[in-house]
């Protein structure tokens, strides 16, 4: 069982031969309308034998009916009637496939209108972003935007698939030129891990199997790379952050005094006996027990859902955070954040919203929009009065009550929030914290 970890669970995974047992990798696959994104996903699913027979027959039949002239693998991922009719993708869709080495969750984000909003959503949970580039067109404005958004939401591994190599005669020089441009872009964006792979999604070159048409390419095909990219150390295992989600009080005779704080470990490793601070109140106590349905645990780490029992009878409720005594976050009433705006009604200075951060909700007023980022040039544009749908900008928020936060670059869980419209209850914005103050 290579790579399988049972982590305190006494039961091993007892599946039969060939059943995946390793960890999970979350991917965001992004590209413009004609870059071949759906074809790449269809190809990954098809060549790794994750397409079921009835799904394939369905696609073959639809391709025939539409007169595509070939089995249009892109049809595998078009879910809704309007999408099939118009040949577009409306919203983020999630796909699953597995190999003996890893289980993959793909966030499939469309490449047309509302692009920024959808890509930010799909990439917010991604370990790796795969960006498609048309070999004939090279690094274009859309590519810059995709790479920028990936870096903004903290994706540390970028795979650029230079697609449609069949249309440039599998030419090494064509690939090298695109690769050089992309490396320049990535360097500016400070993305730590970049991989470039020449592919033809349509023909399956360098997707699952190594292409015989590009002997000059010495790297791995896409699937092999995704199976092996090292993401475990991306998690923050240093700063103990445990947002209290739900208080468990059985109030039965058997568990009369049980008061458990349930939640998911956001970061750090929590041990029985550790000193913790309850924020924002600032009370100190110790972990008495790390409880779970399967029994007590000696330690808890992200993303485990556990129940913490404390030594002292302190006042703790949903929205509080247990943190390590030596590595405390900031308790803030004012936040600076990069915000992606997701609705038609623009964000304005003086606008009021609800901020949902970890398990806590507070009200906020927009004090200032310090700049908007031009997603074409990636340059900041000062003097913006509003953020429109799909805009990204730097915003200062004043909060009605303190939030316990970290910088997003350091902690994706405690550095992120969403903005909710109080009147419609719609989710209207996504925020990544860059600075915090009292």
């Amino acid at each position: 069982m290579p790579g399988a970890a049972t982590n305190g669970h006494p039961k091993g995974i007892s599946g039969g031969d060939g059943i995946p047992q390793a960890g999970q990798l979350r991917l965001a696959i992004v590209g413009s309308v004609d870059d071949g994104k759906s074809t790449l996903i269809g190809r990954l699913l098809f060549d790794s034998k994750q397409i079921f027979q009835d799904q394939l027959e369905h696609v073959e039949e639809t391709s025939r009916r539409r007169g595509d002239g070939y089995v249009n693998l892109a049809l595998l991922t078009d879910g809704l009637r309007a999408e099939r009719e118009q040949g577009i993708t409306i919203d983020v869709a999630y796909r699953y496939f597995a190999t003996p080495r890893r289980r993959f969750v793909i966030a499939d984000t469309p490449g047309h209108i509302q692009y920024t909003r959808n890509m930010v959503t799909g990439a917010s949970t991604a370990d790796v972003a795969v960006i498609l580039i048309d070999a004939r067109k090279g690094v274009v404005e859309q590519t810059r935007r995709h790479a920028y958004i990936a870096s903004l939401v903290g994706v540390r591994h970028l795979v650029a698939c230079v697609n449609k190599m069949d249309l440039v005669d599998y030419d090494e020089a064509a690939f090298d030129s695109v690769a050089a441009d992309f490396r320049d872009l990535a360097a500016k964006l400070e993305i730590p891990d970049i991989t470039l792979i020449p592919v033809s999604a349509l023909n399956g070159d360098n997707i699952v199997d190594r292409s015989e048409k590009m002997p000059w390419y010495e790297g791995p095909p896409v699937l092999y790379h995704l199976e092996h990219v090292h993401v475990a150390s991306d998690r923050n295992l240093h700063d103990v952050r445990f947002p209290v989600q739900y208080v468990i009080r059985p109030m039965s005779d058997e568990h009369h005094d049980y008061r458990g704080y349930a939640g998911q470990v956001a970061s750090g490793v929590l041990h029985k006996g550790d000193e913790v601070v309850v924020l924002p109140a600032g009370l100190r106590t110790r972990v008495k027990t790390l409880d779970s349905f399967d029994g007590e645990l000696p330690e808890a780490f992200p993303p485990q859902s556990v129940t913490v029992l404390l030594e002292d009878d302190v006042d703790v409720s949903r929205g509080d955070m247990l943190v390590g005594a030596s590595d405390q976050p900031q308790t803030a009433r004012r936040l600076e954040a990069t915000v992606c705006w997701m609705t038609d009604q623009p964000l304005t200075a003086r606008g009021r919203y609800i901020v949902r951060h970890t398990t806590r909700e507070v009200r906020a007023i927009v004090e200032e929009i310090s700049h908007r980022t031009d997603v074409h040039t990636l340059e900041p544009v000062p003097g913006a009065n509003t953020l429109e749908l799909n805009d990204i900008g730097a915003v200062t928020l004043r909060l009605s009550a303190p939030l316990v936060v970290d910088d997003y670059r350091r902690n994706r869980q405690t550095g992120s929030f969403i903005l909710v419209d109080e009147a419609t209850n719609a989710t209207v914005g996504a925020g990544m914290i860059t600075a915090a103050a009292d």
């Binding site: 399988a4 970890a5 049972t6 305190g8 669970h9 091993g12 995974i13 007892s14 599946g15 039969g16 059943i19 047992q21 390793a22 960890g23 999970q24 079921f52 027979q53 009835d54 799904q55 991922t77 078009d78 879910g79 009637r81 409306i90 919203d91 983020v92 869709a93 999630y94 699953y96 597995a98 289980r103 969750v105 930010v120 959503t121 998690r235 989600q245 739900y246 468990i248 059985p250 039965s252 568990h255 939640g263 998911q264 490793v269 349905f293 399967d294 000696p298 992200p302 993303p303 485990q304 859902s305 949903r318 949902r356 398990t359 869980q413 992120s416 929030f417 969403i418 209850n425 989710t427």
Partner: protein, 303 residues
């Protein structure tokens, strides 16, 4: 112990689902968990135990009972509820028919599947439930692949796929106005194989019809349907006995069995890992009606 602090993919999914369950309990006032006795809702019950024990569940359970269920499943349902000591509400399609809320379909292809939606919406309203937790998975079907974990429904119970709330990180927006509701899907990111592996790993009991057994069946549309009082045979349909098992649990009238010799959880996991046909394609007549069958039913308020 794991010095690398990594979770297996099943424990990752488990932890995410527990987090979702607790969010529902914390954010919504009157949630309910839908329990059919099928494999996905069996997993939901175990996850609810993991999320809330040693306390009781902060919500009741509800079964939308078409009256055409497999008797083995109803027997299992009642026993499991008894073991857990939780409360079960049964919303009956027969009662909806008797009250004139819905009209029974006629003929050999009649099914109560579509009628369930009205019974469900009526029951949610009658009890004032504002959140319904269900076992639907995104891998089941193409329309489901686009659904959120917290799926907002207007006061007609309708799903608007083009106006869904963006869902980022693990932040779920459960804010609603009176009369509106959310459907919550903790198993969104699970596949059929994950569900079976989890059942195996947790050693959960499932209804006996999931294992191979001999049964009187007949062939229709390439599926093996059970001979039962709820289905009329058409000309040329001859009952015969076969060794079958079920991949999904729905009505006897529209759920097909698959020929199988899988007698244990281990066999079932191996069979699912090797299968080349989706569970809905193989066993659900209700999804075959049109290419957009699931999408249409979901917009009406179906799960």
């Amino acid at each position: 112990m794991s010095p690398t602090h990594e979770l297996s993919h099943l424990r990752n999914l488990e932890s995410e689902a527990i987090h979702i369950m607790r969010e529902v309990a914390a954010q919504l006032e009157r949630p309910v968990l839908l329990f059919s006795g099928g494999k996905d809702s069996i997993v939901l019950l175990r996850l609810a135990e993991k999320a809330f024990r040693p306390a009781r569940f902060p919500f009741p359970l509800m079964h939308v009972d078409t009256g055409h269920n497999f008797p083995e499943v109803i027997e299992y349902r009642d026993r499991r509820i008894e073991e857990l000591g939780e409360r079960l509400i049964v919303a009956s399609v027969q009662e909806s028919i008797d009250k004139g809320r819905v009209v029974e379909e006629k003929g050999p292809r009649a099914s109560r599947n579509r009628l369930q939606t009205i019974t469900l919406l009526d029951a949610l309203e009658e009890h004032g439930f504002d959140a319904a937790i269900g076992g639907a998975r995104r891998d089941e079907e193409k329309a489901r692949a686009k659904e959120r974990v917290f799926s907002f429904r207007d006061d007609f119970g309708q799903w608007d796929p083009k106006a869904q709330r963006p869902e980022l990180w693990s932040l779920y927006n459960g804010r609603i106005r009176k009369g509106e509701g959310v459907r919550v899907f903790p198993l969104s990111n699970w596949t059929e194989l994950d569900v079976w592996q989890y059942i195996d790993e947790e050693q959960l009991e499932v209804p006996s019809i999931y294992f191979a057994h001999r049964r009187e069946v007949f062939k229709r549309d390439g599926m093996l349907l059970a001979v039962s009082p709820y289905v009329e045979l058409m000309d040329g349909e001859e009952p015969f006995e076969a060794s079958v098992r079920y991949r999904t649990v729905g009505d006897m009238s529209c759920t097909g069995g698959v020929e199988s010799g899988a007698a244990s959880l281990h066999d079932v996991v191996a069979e699912i890992a090797a299968t080349r046909i989706t569970e809905r394609g193989e066993t659900r007549a209700d999804d075959r009606v049109t290419e957009a069958a699931m999408e249409d039913r979901k917009k009406e308020g179906y799960f």
